[in-house]
Symmetry: D2
Amino acid sequence: MGLVNHVFSEDSLKKLYVSNLGIGHTRYSTSGVSVLDNCQPFVVETLHGKIAVAHNGELTNAPRLRRKLMRHGVGLSTSSDSELITQLLAFTPPLEQDDSPDWVARIKNLMNETPTSYSLLIMHKDIIYAVRDPYGNRPLCIGCLVPVGDINSKGKRNAETEGWVVSSESCSFLSIGAEYYREVMPGEIVKISRYDVQTLDIVPRPAGDPSAFCIFEYVYFARPDSIFEGQMVYSVRRRCGQQLAIEAPVEADLVSTVPESATPAALGYAQKCGLPYIEVLCKNRYVGRTFIQPNMRLRQLGVAKKFGVLSDNFKGKRIVLIDDSIVRGNTVSPIIKLLRESGAKEVHIRVASPPIKFPCYMGINIPTKEELIANKPEFHNLASHIGADSVVYLSVEGLVSSVQESIKARQDNENNLKTNKFRTGKIGHCIACLVGKYPVELEW
Amino acid sequence: MGLVNHVFSEDSLKKLYVSNLGIGHTRYSTSGVSVLDNCQPFVVETLHGKIAVAHNGELTNAPRLRRKLMRHGVGLSTSSDSELITQLLAFTPPLEQDDSPDWVARIKNLMNETPTSYSLLIMHKDIIYAVRDPYGNRPLCIGCLVPVGDINSKGKRNAETEGWVVSSESCSFLSIGAEYYREVMPGEIVKISRYDVQTLDIVPRPAGDPSAFCIFEYVYFARPDSIFEGQMVYSVRRRCGQQLAIEAPVEADLVSTVPESATPAALGYAQKCGLPYIEVLCKNRYVGRTFIQPNMRLRQLGVAKKFGVLSDNFKGKRIVLIDDSIVRGNTVSPIIKLLRESGAKEVHIRVASPPIKFPCYMGINIPTKEELIANKPEFHNLASHIGADSVVYLSVEGLVSSVQESIKARQDNENNLKTNKFRTGKIGHCIACLVGKYPVELEW
Amino acid sequence: MGLVNHVFSEDSLKKLYVSNLGIGHTRYSTSGVSVLDNCQPFVVETLHGKIAVAHNGELTNAPRLRRKLMRHGVGLSTSSDSELITQLLAFTPPLEQDDSPDWVARIKNLMNETPTSYSLLIMHKDIIYAVRDPYGNRPLCIGCLVPVGDINSKGKRNAETEGWVVSSESCSFLSIGAEYYREVMPGEIVKISRYDVQTLDIVPRPAGDPSAFCIFEYVYFARPDSIFEGQMVYSVRRRCGQQLAIEAPVEADLVSTVPESATPAALGYAQKCGLPYIEVLCKNRYVGRTFIQPNMRLRQLGVAKKFGVLSDNFKGKRIVLIDDSIVRGNTVSPIIKLLRESGAKEVHIRVASPPIKFPCYMGINIPTKEELIANKPEFHNLASHIGADSVVYLSVEGLVSSVQESIKARQDNENNLKTNKFRTGKIGHCIACLVGKYPVELEW
Amino acid sequence: MGLVNHVFSEDSLKKLYVSNLGIGHTRYSTSGVSVLDNCQPFVVETLHGKIAVAHNGELTNAPRLRRKLMRHGVGLSTSSDSELITQLLAFTPPLEQDDSPDWVARIKNLMNETPTSYSLLIMHKDIIYAVRDPYGNRPLCIGCLVPVGDINSKGKRNAETEGWVVSSESCSFLSIGAEYYREVMPGEIVKISRYDVQTLDIVPRPAGDPSAFCIFEYVYFARPDSIFEGQMVYSVRRRCGQQLAIEAPVEADLVSTVPESATPAALGYAQKCGLPYIEVLCKNRYVGRTFIQPNMRLRQLGVAKKFGVLSDNFKGKRIVLIDDSIVRGNTVSPIIKLLRESGAKEVHIRVASPPIKFPCYMGINIPTKEELIANKPEFHNLASHIGADSVVYLSVEGLVSSVQESIKARQDNENNLKTNKFRTGKIGHCIACLVGKYPVELEW
């Protein structure tokens, strides 16, 4: 429980060097509280040996599945979906004729019980199964480990490959000397063994349902150098900035960023509208990221300590300040105040994503509906509420097109070439937090 | 995991002050390893709410029960019998007609599944069930809490009673201002609520089977001021010393003890044979108890640092040294050497219990058969092996009669008075580690 | 010992809330090792009560002063200059006629004993003395605390001021709701009490000696929003980039930065030469700053994990990559490799500071002469050694003029206005690590 | 800071294995508070290299010496006498003609500055000096380390000796395979090197002053197997019990002990008066020693949890309960209550030492005068105050004769044989806490 840096010390990792496969997990709390019991991977002994399960996501029908299991007499020792999934895998009525387990059948049964959202790693003996739900709501991708000794050289996906790694975000590969191989496809069950990486099956969505990868990963959550659906997150964010410049231009002296997640959008905005890009805030490197801190008080304190002001850069100037999102509205307001007090003549806020209005039930820790600024009365008067000269959000259509533009271009291309055997069905994205329409019905 | 002193700090206990009932647990490792996962109580959510289970003992048919549960599709997340018992309680086919759980039926089902050994506390909502297996192998007793403010005054078991406590050993009551009320009987299911302590049922043993309380509790494990079966452990140990003086007298100048567990037996021996009781060793108070340390190396080191030698007390004298047990033979040998080097003329060892020859499968952490001195070739030549002038163990019959003498006397008396409605069936004791005959058949 | 975030927890700070003044300290190891004993402030009891001393810097004649004290019979319990200074303050032959201590005389004696480098906070009873050495080598500045309740509003330096804070860098003021007041001048002794901030004395430099503020603070060490000598560090860095564009232009497609300390210089370079500023690397926010890690191995590991690559931004392009300094040459080489492997056509390195060639004996943890890339044979062939298409450093003159340009402009202005009563003598900067000439003679 | 068991872990000791000499220290707080700063040994660098000093005791003129040092300009960083002694050793005006230090002269100077109480270990390069103050108030003794491999065999004080150890109490030798060699004499300066153990000098007391070893070490503080002045502590305590039986007999059924420090006295009392020795209390092994806990609250809690009651041993009987001392009277009162409630017919308290009435200024942590039961009004009515049927203390004369009896016998014998070249002057003991007369005048 905690940040990777603190939890996985060199000493604790050293103990694992005897093994040649393993899974791990770290996350901020989504469903339920951050308690030790909910730590992953969840490990149980089954009739067919131990299985370990790591899970990213949140089941949209967890309460019903919990009741189902408990009605069958299984006591649940934690409140986590990870245990739920693990017990469902153990519990699945034995389809096997003989004593050898049919894990694929068990995994498919699980996927039939619950449509989304989950990216899973399931370890059993010397096999790891990598699974993504049919809607592809949470990310999951595969990298291949290049030979040590030259951790920066390009590895080949052949006999020289030293091993495989699976991760939510591809950005993690570089740090360990691995390179990006491909995504696990929506609904895909991949088997990873010492010898190969093999697609066992692809569980389809109901006919007509588009895929539903979380658009919030592009907007805020992922690291800019990660690759989803064939495109770099940074490029999407820059396109959002460009789109925003088209949708909401403003007469000003300079474009700047709320560092550092809004920087790609700010550079895109500046380039598109022809204004100089100049920094007005610097990050206080000694303070952690605000989003990851699980309680309100620390978040507030963090904001106050988060930035330094580069006042000489903007005294007497009109600023267009690009932010990646305004969720609660707590952060931007003191920033604007800081800038004005330090000499800014005007402060125009441009937000590189649409307002969040609805809760997420699929793994992202969005504030309650009441906390969201877009649901408050002051939203109708937002500029004056936060002290800005003007404030404009990116449109939902603008965001979706910024995200899907290059996917569609590539897809058209691939369709022409008939190269993509995996990516079946219509491409879509989960924009439930923006428009309130969820990819599947929620069950309680 | 660890000693009560270290684990249950004042701070950690303070958090519990909001509640009016609770269960806890501490033990040294018996089955499996000492890992955090095996910590108790084990808590699961069932269809009828959360239950928490604390367990002392070891199930003689655990492997079979584990397989049974796993065959039904329950994944087991730890190697502990405690989880096994908890899942068995959750799993029991619902006998209930309506939605309210019948915990007594579930507990009785559990007791029918496994004969021994277990003393259990099961907490569900505002009720605690205290359960002892039909053989009464592990201890469990009830105390009543007297009003605070005068923690040493005598409480009454009536309206003035402030609450109830349940414990393996009665010695714990004094420290918290409680007083001994009674034992939980073999097979008894006791319900403890805010209002009363009530016997719900008594599950009988198979006809003809005597009870089987662990005789090792009397010999070594329990604290001398604890009360089992109506008698103080200290008194049993002194009787063992007296019996040993009858069975194995020796011509010597003084009787002494390996402090401090053998002291009652040494005083009994000295009194019976008329020799002076004189101390030859003093305890190094800065070192902990040897038995509780889980690995061999620390045990060895502990022995070396455990005692001081009171050489002026025995220079040139013949010593009868009483030990409570010789298990591995590692401890007594360096002690004899120390005494001789410090001037003892003769050292005769008298052991106030019979040799341990067989493993325990019911909760006591006895060394493997190979480690037991009684199973080694040198046992036939023990005195010279350990460097003693002579060594004699108490006979099995001597031990059993020392233990049962006063129980039988009281039982005869009670039978005459017809007062004991609980204690049914023949009284016996588990002497499996001494003779190899277990109270029930072991299942794998 | 450690990062402020880890050392000064909320709990540890809470204990201080009873007081109304205090001093603290954190630093990375300069002289000697990072040991607990060298932690500051150093506190001793003297004849006149306790004094506490916090010290930033390193005495250029520490060995001689240590010997002097020890020759007088003072045992030194640590290897820190802080203890040395504290004992020198205690030891100073009592000049006082009566029993009341004359701390100003003692501080001036200390300053006569050692010319540089030190910024000091000395606490005695309800007074804090803030002292800067006559050369002003290490920074020290004063802020005033505005009323709580509105931590972002502008405070006034009058009756409404709630208190005073002193810090090495002004950037720390914003985080605690304080605002920048002024620098402590070279040689100045400032007395801070409940009632006011008062200059007690200004100890002059030898005639003709210019001041010698560490130029490395501007180049790398300070946070960009800090203010030294009336100018924002960020502005100096941007001027260095502009100067570098003049000194070393290059034909390329884009200008980029090694984030994030080189960003101001990169933006300055891009603006001056008219090339687009585009990001090629993103920071891995989960890894700390490399400079602060005290041993080589962790520094290397840190580099490997430090960056993500934004390959889509530069595939097939010619990059001018601005770095703030190349000290050992360990970091830039793998970065260039990464960029080439990810598709960069050319990589030209421009360094916004001159090469470091000499050790610092005044508080900055510069590697040994042998480790400095500028002193190695491969320096003559640096571009090919690090794998760059070209590499050019900023000239010493370019750096000095970038730093002094606006100071001189303002000084001229002030001289005309005769407003600056403090800043006496010639303004200079310590560039010893670049040219090998130290502001004072080093004594051993 | 803390118990040896916790502080000196195997890991922390392992780091020392590279060395062949060292000193360490552990103590409960006497003067001042238990703070990390006061931990020993105190290490300083002097003109002649580092010295490390470990100190047991408390200087009777510490305040004057602190002022003296501070007047000379030495700042003191802790409140400990250990630092004071170390700085005095460093500070001593250099008597040396050349550059080599004359540590003996420095130590003698120190001993002339302060008469008592101190036992010191001073380490400098490859020499350890063991020093005891002229009054011999605190203990210090030397052991020799026998060859490893046979840690229980008898070593010889010759070429085979592997090394030397110095300790306050001889009881520590056995645990590490060393054997007792001899005491450091009052006033003696012993030099311990790789080659030998050598008396450098013996600093005499003022003419007529007897030695003043702390009698409290015999009564309570030392471990019973330690040897002081040629006699085992246990034997002294038993003699105290015998003397008490003579001074204060009582008609009763049994003699018992407050375990475990009073047991030798109880056995001595029982033997002298012919009553049976029977245990009435057993120690709760899971709770630490009460004396060592530094604050009142924990001491109280400790008492309540300290004992178990062996009620079957004394129901309806008249008990003589021997305690080693009654200091505050907090402990004995609840014990008597416990015994009566558990069925004791009478409880007579006999205390194997005289009442403590005066504070100790020489290293023992005695409560303040106001806390001492002997100085309270209720002392005149003590039996009824503590709830006993009678209470009698040992007389001061009885204690002194129990302590000195065998010393005098041996001294007479040695004088006849002229073998004792060290033990000069009159033998006495510090009984200041009993009678208020201190061995030297106290200075403030």
